[in-house]
Symmetry: C2
Subunit: 160 residues, 2 copies
Amino acid sequence: EREIVSGITYDRDQAKITVTHVPDKPGIAAMLFTPLSQHNIIVDMIIQNASLEGFTDVTFTVSKKDLKDAQKIIQETAKTIDAKNVEVDDQVSKVSIIGVGMASHAGVAAKMFSALSAEGINIMMISTSEIKISCVIQRKYTELAVMVLHDTFGLEKKSS
Amino acid sequence: EREIVSGITYDRDQAKITVTHVPDKPGIAAMLFTPLSQHNIIVDMIIQNASLEGFTDVTFTVSKKDLKDAQKIIQETAKTIDAKNVEVDDQVSKVSIIGVGMASHAGVAAKMFSALSAEGINIMMISTSEIKISCVIQRKYTELAVMVLHDTFGLEKKSS
Ligand SMILES: C[C@@H](O)[C@H](N)C(=O)O
Ligand SMILES: C[C@@H](O)[C@H](N)C(=O)O
């Protein structure tokens, strides 16, 4: 059955900000991201999982150079919406598998997760689309993760 | 500045499963998704946000026809890994904005979130990439959401 994974990409220039325990009601996401866009902060990933009991966490990633500014802006908003906290981690990387039709291949995601876990690499965040499966991991594991994924998917390692 | 949003897509055939309070340690994601792939369950989105205190939730979506099977399989695994619960919602839709270079335009995400909230549509889950911003909402709001997003981004509504 034909190979659908075409490459591995990674981004070491990532910092993540999580706004915890925000009210899960209309308008909150807009309130979080509008000030960031007004300050021209480039936001890479946005992840929000389903809420339990009316509250959820919203995470987004920015480049390290924007972390200070983004954090300042977000802390304002977090206060306004009465979020519990703003958690920051500037020691993360995003590692992604690029391909096609991957949504119909749950096996690709499972294979990626297994490969990382076999090396003891914890997967901190997951976000997927049909063409990209992204995992956020601790930055110190980036090189190891990229190597392991290239091996697992039988890809030639080229510098990216 | 040039238009970067090229279209709106939606998928009404979505059901979401959330495994709550799973240990945030290597191997858990692999344990969740390997059995699904072995049963040829097509998984569309996978969302996992950053953990607090060593536990996190993992959500994925499947087509409605696969919900029963997926739920059965996942409930097994959830027991094995000592997750708190398996929460299912078969009344959801995924609505997405497709474009290019959107990661550098936090404004696009903010605009999408504002447009939905202005109609009182709650955003249950968010997952983004540079070319796609996806929101999971209650299915009953699908038509309204698609219409509102077409207006907001000045797109011609074609049937999709
Ligand atoms: C949490 C946030 O996404 C909220 N549900 C909203 O619709 O804005
Ligand atoms: C929760 C799950 O993703 C876990 N962190 C893992 O690495 O498998």
